[in-house]
Assembly symmetry: C2
């Protein structure tokens, strides 16, 4: 049987390893790239090499950034008494896009997931405690999933059982759950509706 050329096969394997890309999509992508000029492929390769070389992790909030500390941690206009905990850098980006948060962040780079062998020590959790001096609000913006909820609860426990001198002055809040804007009550799932009722507010 005729096989694909080795160079094609090896690049297909690389694409296959990416999340959400199956063997068929990987083949399509590689044959698409074959029709591109060599300079385009060189440019793609350059950008891949630049990815880790030109980014750093902010030592304070663990966001992926161009500088350390990152532009948010270094920004004198941000409220330093508020920290918002998120799972991933993309979550931080989504919150920034909302334009309604002006405090600092803390990126965990994951959530507690025992089934995947991810415990508290595999996340940037412990050094969150060191950042809480002077903080008056901690917003837990982990995802509304099993893992995200467990992580939020773990963080609350970690703080209340810690020996932080100001732990009673920190308002620990969970990001609001309910119906997303534009959603249809008719099609909403029961858990979301229950949360929306629990979180009802006077207008």
């Amino acid at each position: 049987m005729q096989k694909l050329p080795k160079a094609v096969r090896q690049l297909v394997e690389k694409f296959e390893r990416l999340p959400g890309i199956g063997p068929r999509s990987a083949q399509r992508l590689v044959f698409y790239l074959l029709h591109n000029p060599t300079t385009e492929l060189e440019d793609f390769a350059d950008k891949l090499l630049a990815l880790k070389r030109d980014t750093v992790m902010c030592a304070k909030c663990h966001n992926v950034a161009e500088s350390n500390p990152c532009s948010i941690c270094a920004d004198a206009n941000r409220q330093t008494n508020s920290i918002c905990v998120v799972e991933q850098p993309l979550d931080l980006l989504a919150l920034e896009k909302s334009g309604r948060y002006h405090g600092l962040y803390h990126v965990l780079h994951g959530s507690i997931a025992p089934l995947n062998n991810i415990g508290p020590d595999q996340l940037y959790l412990r050094d969150l405690l060191k950042r809480l001096g002077g903080v008056t609000e901690l917003i837990l913006a982990t995802n509304p999933t099993m893992e995200g909820e467990a992580t939020a609860l773990y963080i609350k426990e970690m703080i209340t059982t810690s020996n932080l001198s100001n732990k009673d002055q920190i308002a620990i809040t969970r990001i609001g759950h309910g119906l997303p804007i534009g959603a249809d009550i008719e099609y909403a799932d029961g858990v979301t509706l229950a949360r929306a009722l629990e979180g009802r507010r006077q207008i």
Copy 2:
């Protein structure tokens, strides 16, 4: 507003240009790659550079291959009196996997699509004529789409109006259309069913 680091943004742009990958998937892929070791990214970049460097187009059949002529054209065991015309190298691969064809191929690298400005001259069509000496069967295995059908008809016309001395000895066939194996007649579309009836065979 906080923006993504430049290195991240530029790689996201590269992934976005690939077919079937939107802005959100591209971001996910790049952040996934950020968690990979640098050696893995270097390897990915290497494979990208190798793609065009280590593959050639077979001058006879225009398949993407490691050698010129490709392993099929160079194989003395293949029937040289039969040529199967396909749109893309992946179509050739699919036919090879079926294990039922032992002749040669001709890869057009596309189909006639006037809406996309792809005419006969943008495809490897003309030099098909030069390969037809001694050929007794030409199988047109372009896709069963508007463009594929138009291309098949164009090839038939091109041969019948040519001044090839053996053009009357070439059986020009179109690959069979009908119900795919495992399909449900109930859910088949009308055009496919019409083709399946037209193509009925005695058992």
